[in-house]
Each structure stands twice: as structure tokens, then as C-alpha cells.
Subunit: 222 residues, 2 copies
């Protein structure tokens, strides 16, 4: 979690009360943003069902009821938080010939055990249990990540290749960051990145007609 309060506001209130030092002046926009930032962090760390509005409110330095005032409900706050998590951050790195390479290395770096990263995949995984949250995230993926990756992977079955690339990334996030399985956490980052890169390469530069297994019926197209 980054700074949620205005750094320009000094400790104007010398009173003993005040949950967070450096109290924010009465500023609706800043308060709303502080709540949203806290929500992204909390939902990413603990999932939709894992945090209460009181937790988020306390992180933002306000009371729980302000969430309902500014966002209507916890669900609507989550929807906005998902949009924030998916929109600015990139789910792919590099482009063209470097796409597989850069994306693999970024993935390994961000899922390192010591990283403590907040990323859209973590938010996705930790909130996958709630059906309503799942629907909100599906729409966000279609709107942001999927579209972006789709353009990069133009060509045959670009949509499938893009979503398979997202799938592998999500799976690595799950196994490495969330569950912390042994092999993925203990392997040398560089070697792990090479394995993942070679997988991405299959999707980025797909086997055209000369498929390794010429199956019938499924002409991989033009």
C-alpha cells in the first residue's frame, strides 16, 4: 500500500484523537481516492470475502460508512477496485519479438517470494470464489487485459492465444505466490524465466501449418 494521505497536509489537528497521523483535510475527492487505494490493496491481499469494509475504511483513515456514501456498497467498491487493478498495470511486457522474453521475466520477478507485489492476477485469484466478484472480473478482463493482448497477438486464434497466455500467468501466480509450492519458489529465477518464456513462445509465434502434431480437422487456419 502506498501513501493514501495528502503529504501536503501537516498535522493540523493537535487533538488526541485521529486514527492516522497526518489527517486529511475535508476533501471528498481525496478521501474517495484514499478509500479506493486501500480497497485495491486489501482486496488484492485478502480477496473479496477476506476483507471487511471496516478494514478498508481504517486503512484509508475513515469510518466504514463513508464507503457506502461514496461507493454505494462493498460490491460497487470492488468493481471500481478491479478496474483500477486491471487498467493501469500491464499484463504483458515488451512487444513483438521481445514479448515472450520480457513478459516471462516480469512474471518471475513479480511473483518472487520476497516481492509482495500487488497485481491484477493476485486480485483475480484471491477473489475467484465469489460468483459476483468473478463476473465483475470477467468483464474487466474483456475490457482491459484481453483487448490489449489481443492486439499484440494478431493472427490465428489471437483470442485463444491471448487468454492462454493470461491463463499461464495466472497459474504461475497461483502456484508461486499464493500457494508457494516448493519447486517454483526454489528454482533459480533465470532458469524458471526461460521455461516460461519457451511456453510463451509457442503462443506468440505459433506453429503455423507445420504443426508438430498434424491432427485432422483443426486446420489452424490462414
Amino acid at each position: 500500500m502506498s501513501d493514501t494521505a495528502e503529504p501536503s497536509s501537516p498535522v493540523s489537528r493537535s487533538g488526541p484523537q485521529g486514527p492516522t497521523p497526518g489527517r486529511r483535510r475535508r476533501d471528498a475527492a481525496a478521501t474517495r481516492q484514499a478509500i479506493l487505494d486501500a480497497a485495491v490493496a486489501a482486496f488484492t491481499r485478502y480477496g473479496y470475502d477476506g476483507v471487511g469494509v471496516r478494514d478498508i475504511a481504517q486503512s484509508a483513515g475513515v469510518t466504514a460508512m463513508l464507503i457506502n456514501r461514496y461507493f454505494g456498497s462493498k460490491e460497487q467498491l470492488f468493481a471500481e477496485a478491479v478496474d483500477v487493478a486491471f487498467a493501469p498495470r500491464t499484463v504483458i511486457a515488451g512487444s513483438g519479438a521481445q514479448l515472450a522474453d520480457k513478459t516471462a521475466r516480469a512474471l518471475v520477478a513479480r511473483t518472487a517470494p520476497e516481492a509482495e507485489e500487488l497485481g491484477p492476477f493476485l486480485l483475480m485469484l484471491r477473489s475467484a470464489a465469489s460468483p459476483r466478484a468473478a463476473q465483475i472480473m470477467r468483464e474487466a478482463i474483456g475490457r482491459h487485459a484481453g483487448r490489449h493482448l489481443n492486439e499484440e497477438l494478431s493472427g490465428t486464434a489471437a483470442g485463444v492465444r491471448a487468454e492462454l497466455m493470461l491463463s499461464l500467468q495466472a497459474g504461475v501466480w497461483l502456484m508461486r505466490s499464493v500457494l508457494g509450492t516448493t519447486a517454483l519458489t526454489q528454482e533459480q529465477p533465470e532458469e524458471l524465466a526461460q521455461w516460461i518464456e519457451s511456453l510463451f513462445q509457442v503462443l506468440v509465434t505459433p506453429p503455423t501449418a507445420a504443426s508438430p502434431r498434424p491432427e485432422p480437422g483443426a486446420g489452424s487456419g490462414p
Copy 2:
């Protein structure tokens, strides 16, 4: 959850009228098993935090307190359910040269939108938010799936390759079954299976020394 059974209407059946599967004779082992089965189904569908012990108990036709009597706590029930979900079901299909092929096809079939499958990956994804559940699942993976797949993929970096294979499967489950993203749900199953198979192939028959990208340092050779 939704289906409502009235446990308080015993209907006073006296004879050995057994056609209704609801009423079980007093049998500790059978009751315990019924609870466990219901737990696997419920945890898989709704995740660790998504079900209450009352839901599970009602599915099993008992009251919630029997769960504590037989399993000690909800957490211990979950641990046993995870063992059930991971142990008997296979996370890989086929072996040797057919491993990539069979596993990919099985994955596509089991994640089909109409499948309504219960599988370990679904349990994994839907319960990933809870840290305690995550630890329980990590141990189960190391005990069951990881070990099994490790033997099959003997060779260089078998552990990493095995867990990457699990990662991709988990990711596909997430995107296709849980989130239901468009491309993966609408693609022809056969073509999707071929894409996934070509990814598995990289892990099953890894590029030896003749790697497509000869990076320094990481000698993939045995």
C-alpha cells in the same frame, strides 16, 4: 444454500422404508463419509470461505455439530476434503508420449462450460484466498499431485516442469471454468486442446541443449 430441506419434519416413518436416500440408519462411518463427500462438493463449488458448516451439514443430512464431533473443526474437515480431492483423481492423464495429448484433452473436456465438474483445481482456486486453506493445499499438492507428476516427468528440472504443468492447468480452469472468459469458452474444444497440448509438449519433452533461445548461464542440459 438454496435448496431447502425440512429436517424438522420427520414424517414419523417407522418401517424399514428405505427408498428415500435421505434417511440413513445410525452409522457413524457412513455419516462421516456423507459429511466428507458433501464437504468436497461444497468446498469445490464455493470455496473455503464460501460455505458454512451448516450448509455442508444440511447437504449431508445432519446437523452442523456433527461436523465438529467427527472432524474437530471446519479447518480439519477442509484438510480431509483436500486430501480426498487430490488423492484419487488424477491431475495428469496418459503417460509417456501420450501424456501431453491425453492431459490436454482431459483438461478441455473437464473445463467445458457444460461440465459442472468437481476437480482439485476448482477446489484450489476457490479456496486460494484463505491463507490457512492455502497452506493445507500446498502440503496436499506436494504429497499427491506434485509427486505423481514428478515421476512422470523425470529428467531435467522435473519439479519445475511438473509445477508449470499444474500452473497451466490451474490457469485454464480459472479462466475457462471460474471466470468464463469469452475466447476460451467459445473456441472449438479440439482446437483449444491442440494449443494446450503444444504447450504441454514443451514441458514433457523439453528442449535439451538445443534450446530455441540459447541464453547464457542456465544450462538446461542434464
